[in-house]
């Protein structure tokens, strides 16, 4: 892994019922995508505290993805709406502190959308790679 070429660090927080299942479906279908994203499972994107995202960027994440159910389909009814509201707020915060807000992305992938998950992965990696390393990467607190 020490070939010198920079690879982005992208963390994804994905909901168990839709996006995690969709990601599993992509696996079952052997849809191939770049390996730069590591996922953390939560039950619902409603669980995502804005502080998690800020901590991730503080730790040097080049990109953060949050992925949940489509509006109206949340397994817990409204968690995805609440998360989306927080994401909008967070994007403004990121802009204010000088981070390109395209580093934070929220997507909606259902349990039957394996192909879509593959496309999301490709797109997120491409976007973050084009943005380059986060200005906070490599800084320790």
């Amino acid at each position: 892994m020490s070939d010198g070429e920079w690879k982005p660090k992208i963390i994804a927080i994905i909901c168990n019922w839709c996006s995690y299942a969709g990601a599993d479906l992509a696996g079952g279908a052997r849809i191939q995508y770049p390996p730069d994203v590591r996922a953390i499972r939560v039950m619902c994107t409603g669980r995502v505290d804005p502080l998690f995202i800020l901590k991730a960027f503080q730790d040097g994440a080049d990109g953060v993805l949050v992925s949940g159910c489509h509006f109206g389909d949340c397994h817990y009814l409204e968690g995805n709406y609440k998360c989306a509201k927080r994401m909008f707020l967070l994007k403004n915060v990121l802009k204010n502190i000088g981070l390109n807000d395209n580093r934070l992305r929220m997507t909606f992938v259902s349990a039957s959308e394996g192909a879509k998950w593959g496309m999301v992965m490709e797109d997120v990696v491409k976007t973050v790679t084009e943005l380059g390393p986060s200005p906070l990467a490599g800084k320790k607190n």
Partner: protein, 675 residues
Amino acid sequence: MAENQEPRVGVFICHCGTNIAGSLSVEEVKDYAMTLPGVIVADEYQYMCSTPGQNKIMDAIKEHNLNGIVVAACSPRLHEPTFRTATEEGGLNKFRFEMANIRDQNSWVHMHDWDGATAKAKDQVRIAVAKATLLEDLQPKSVPVEHAAMVVGAGVGGMQAALDLANAGIKTYLIEKDPTIGGRMSQLDKTFPTLDCSQCILTPKMVDAGRHPNIIMKTFTEVENVEGYIGNFEITLRKKARGTRDPSEMIAAGIEGSGCNGCGDCAEVCPVIKPNPFEMGMAPRKAIYIYHPQVMPLQYTIDFESCVKCGLCAEACGPEKNAIDLNMVDELEKVKVGCVILATGYDLIPIEEKNEWGYKRHENVITGLEFERLICASGPTGGHLIRPSDGATPMKVGFVLCAGSRDNTGGVAKPYCSRFCCMYSLKHAHQIMEKIPGAVPYIFYMDIRSFGKMYEEFYYRIQHEGAKFIRGRVAEILEDPDTKNLIVKTEDTLLGRPVNVECNMVVLAAAIQPKPDAEPIRQMFGISKSQDGWYLEAHPKLNPCGTTTAGIFLAGVCQGPKDIPDTVAQAEGAASAASIPIHQGEVQLEPYFAQCMEDLCAGCGMCVPQCPYGALSLIEKDGRQVMTVTEAKCKGCGTCGGFCPGGAIRMQHFTSQQIVAQIDAFLLNPLGGEE
């Protein structure tokens, strides 16, 4: 195992045959795991889910005094229960277990990037270990299960499911939005491949369902609202205003009279005539009506949208029966059930929007369901197949298969196969040749899908009886303005040229789609739909009757196109699955509950509206307000936890400390763990 001990984690990497080992280095990941803080032992095996694999976990717990287990393998959605059980049998609380998904979300999707996949697997293990060191003992919560079930939809699937549940001793609400049970099967004339009379084989089930002591049949009723969860669904039903009362309803309402006995005196005098949807609009009914003579219950219904409130029906009914109430209003009723089976059936797509086939423009182009009513002896023409334009007997009848199915052009067309149309078109062809001597059916097909038991033999028989088969997609249907014959423009791909076939009548085997209220129903019950629009099953192969929402099951076409045998089979499966928690009397819920850390709680109450289930409330404690969680209502989604500005809400098994540890474990280390 006591909490707050030094973490002692065991890590187990699975090869999963070559599924994982073929795309990344299991050896390297195992060696890396040993270097992680808190990891005491790391091992690997071909198939961790196998008995020897699970034994490794159990033995390691005892041998190394472990207090946390990580398995790097497939998806927790598949094997979390398996490994939790192994963890428990090894002597640990089963929630001290975490999985790293290095197969579905790694080796399977990075098959050509050995280094990238291996580096990712190391990071995934590091993330899982970080959480594992912070896991704690949790106890699953047991809730009682109401000894009752509900079936939504009373077609053959719904009725079968209700009968099975009722025979198993479970009180079952059978809810049907139409005035009668029976569904699509009542509308069919004969069923393939046996050519049984559909209504004849269905009516015994209808009668059984209607009089079973354990079935509470509620027709002309819809689901209004759903609350609760498995074992404890609180469902509000809307009993629509029918305008008539049956004998038991008369007694319940305390009204004099014997009630509706289905005599039909009212319909005789009703002045309002409307199309009968049971007859696909090809026969009339009155504003006070029954769909057909064999309805269950045998009770008239008033269509209040068309009723002019003239009162003639009430007069004709007379004071003895006194069954009619023109001022009746809808009633709401709440019932409690343990499990629910959805069996909402299907509609045909609006095939007139596939304009090229001329449905609704050309009189003699009809759909398969309309054909069923025309050929049915109890239908609007007494079973005589006649042309809508002039009542003549058609001698050349065209059948357009895959009309709107297997079609990627968008709009109303569906990309999927509607599954039973090939078989019913063959059946229709047979019926024409049988009933009309000299009549010739032309079947315009792409493939003939005769997949079931005795289906291929049936296809062979129809070929031999003289049906003509032309393989090609029908491009256009034109009408001769004088004769009203149809000119079917298609291609004969086996001959390799376009053909025009003049037919007296054409039957479109229109694609099917979920009913319009399938969408609000699924949102009320909280289940997903597949990409093709039908309800999503828990697993297409291993759990086709269940959904990912505990306690909700599926039966029949609402889960995907299927014929009667498959519908009945799935209904029996759903009933069996639904009866399990009901008979066990209790069900275990995962303890992912929210907890209020009272010394951090400011009592602001902002979390209360965050909860979709109303599980949070403020209480007085020691002279101040703090939040409290009603565990029975908490589903563990974490929406409140992600919100509390003071960080006072702790989500069990998904604590902020654990999640931040996962984030830190990934990001505060180099990719793949090395510089």
